[in-house]
Amino acid sequence: MNQLFKRLEDSFGLTAESPRKPDQYFCTVDANKLVACITHLRDNEGFTILTLLTAVDWIEDGKFQLTYLLNNPATKTDLGVRIFIERDNTSMQSIHHLWGHAATFQRELKEMFGIDFPGSPRVDEPFLLEGWDDIPPMRREFDTKKYAEETYFPRPGRETNDPAQYMKQKLYPDE
């Protein structure tokens, strides 16, 4: 694995991290080298399966982190390839030509985070949020609670308790 990282480091300038588990590795590459990198991984290194494609909103850094989790069925290893992209008006190259199902992940990311993948099939069609006209709900500036309270007629009298606080109060009322 280290050899692999070495090779990749030379070609794609990737930064490897120490493995989380024996068969799970993560690395970070430059966003514009990503497609070349995972194409290489798929075609030459045996990472033939795209397990998932997901995003994390680093609102403080103004970045989205995209993780392409690849799997090598021969060695039973997972490799997460991360990239960081700008948060505003963001868009990323589509990889639906590498894996057909990537289009579905991308469609979801578009819907939930507003990350655009130009050229990805049906990327603009809503998945879950039919008729959504607010900012994408998974972006962290979206205040879910406020939205829900404004929109969904909360039932008066409903109490909400943080389970930890609630149990503490129940069990150790004196503390």
């Binding site: 006209d133 929109t151 007629f153």
Partner: protein, 229 residues
């Protein structure tokens, strides 16, 4: 219930009009132009009507008895409660003996069971199905999610109170209620029907504007006339 988002229904309607619902022009066999407005041409745009109970008390009582003893449930599962329905029909609980039966088409069903949380997307389908059922029709809502949102109370996409969207006859609390509870709920519903209090369909028709505005507030791409006949 104040709404910070400014919704102009007409504008929203236009924005989310499905491509196949766009008005269009086709050429007929003799070359004549035919203007198609799918919403008006394909769908009946009547409003629902109130169907008053029969004047004769005895007849109405008899009918209500028949309605109560023959509850045909639409096979529509939402949320986690849908897994609680099949056991109802199993030999252990055997809901058939109470006159409960599942029907695959809303036209023939009289009971709609909302079996758990409703995403907006599912709500849209639930409403369409409800509207296609025939008067009298009854709604049973399962679980806390339908009562007050349950664990999804602050979700961006899940409703909190079903009774703002559909006239609910029976709420069955629990997360989820077990089949026994549901059977008890059926029993309650029967009582309500026999007492002539289960007039949800008429209530829906009477307060149609209120229900519709609530529904349209969150369902912005309704894409059909107000009432789905």
């Amino acid at each position: 219930m104040n709404n910070t988002h400014d919704h102009n229904p007409e504008k929203t309607h236009q924005k989310f009009l499905a491509p196949e619902n766009m008005p269009r022009t086709v050429i007929g066999p003799d070359g004549e132009e035919i203007h198609i407005d799918p919403l008006n041409d394909y769908f009946c745009s009547e409003r629902p009507k109130v169907h008053e109970p029969a004047n004769n008390k005895i007849i109405e009582k008899f009918m209500n008895w028949a309605r109560a003893e023959s509850l045909w449930v639409l096979g529509f599962g939402t949320g986690c409660g849908s897994i609680e329905i099949p056991p109802l029909l199993s030999p252990r609980f055997d809901a058939f003996r109470y006159g409960v039966a599942m029907r695959p088409t809303p036209r023939q069903s009289s009971v709609l069971i909302i079996s758990g949380y409703l995403a907006v997307k599912t709500l849209k389908r639930a409403i369409r199905s409800y509207e296609q059922m025939q008067n009298p029709k009854f709604v049973i809502a399962l679980g806390s999610c339908t009562i007050n949102g349950g664990m999804y109370w602050d979700s961006y996409n899940t409703i909190n109170r079903l009774d703002h969207y559909l006239p609910v006859d029976i709420y069955i609390a629990g997360c989820m209620p077990r089949p026994e509870a549901i059977l008890a709920g059926f029993d309650q519903l029967k009582k309500r029907i026999k007492e002539g209090r289960a007039e949800g369909a008429n209530e829906y028709a009477r307060n149609f504007d209120w229900y519709k505005s609530n529904q349209k507030k969150i369902i912005k791409d309704w894409n059909m006339p107000d009432y789905n006949w």
